[in-house]
Symmetry: C2
Subunit: 142 residues, 2 copies
């Protein structure tokens, strides 16, 4: 079991972000219980429920700073809402269209091959695969 950061404090130090009350608390909420996909409002709700006084603006600021520091990855799937993924290793996603649920697909269980070079030049920064799933279980077609 790898534990890259013993605690939130160490994690913030590595990211060169001042360990403030709010950032520490948000880091704990985000990283102390396995892989998650959270929206900003959602995390704000959790923080308030945990008696952590933090404004929504700070939640947004912090999420973006964490993305900048490579601690989070932003996942955009639906118009009008971003999710923040605590798993920053190479992986992809199932997206359940009925519930909006997002689920990781490990990077090594899927393969994307023959990606052509970008026509306008530039370098490939990342390849995202989103597998859209609809609720109905697979059956023979009518």
């Amino acid at each position: 079991m790898t534990r890259p950061f013993a605690n939130a404090l160490e994690l913030l130090r590595a990211a060169r972000l001042r360990p403030t009350r709010q950032r520490l608390a948000l880091a704990r909420l985000l990283f102390e219980k396995g892989d998650r996909h959270v929206a900003a409002e959602e995390l704000h709700g959790e923080a308030l429920a945990a008696q952590i006084p933090v404004s929504l603006a700070t939640v947004y600021n912090t999420l973006h700073q964490f993305v900048g520091a490579g601690l989070l990855r932003e996942v955009v799937i639906n118009p009008g809402r971003s999710y923040f993924d605590t798993n920053v290793s190479d992986h992809h996603h199932f997206f359940y269209e009925d519930s909006g649920l997002l689920r990781d697909i490990p990077g090594d269980s899927i393969a994307v091959s023959n990606v052509p070079p970008p026509p306008e030049g530039g370098s490939i920064r990342r390849v995202d695969v989103i597998v859209r799933v609809e609720k109905a279980p697979q059956k023979g077609r009518a």
Copy 2:
């Protein structure tokens, strides 16, 4: 060269949408010049520039109706803005992060293999691959 619909009128008929002034005009703007990726506001601007009196609300309505009819595909990549893709065949996308430009990758020039079955059940409706490109041309790393 395949031309699936001789004109906008035929296309609307096939989609069982009344051929109104606005829908005809928008269909022409969308489909009469090759594959495109347009945002709603953008299309609205084009329509006004072409002297077609149409409200933004109608542009949104029409785009969604076209998606429902399978004439367009909605592509979500950035938070807060949807693009509508006139190419509804099997394909994927390059996304140029600096400019926001979207470019098709033909479906047969890329392969996604070993997609595991969705853990919660359900059937795979579509697999989207987004190749994120950053402007800087590829070089050896420093």
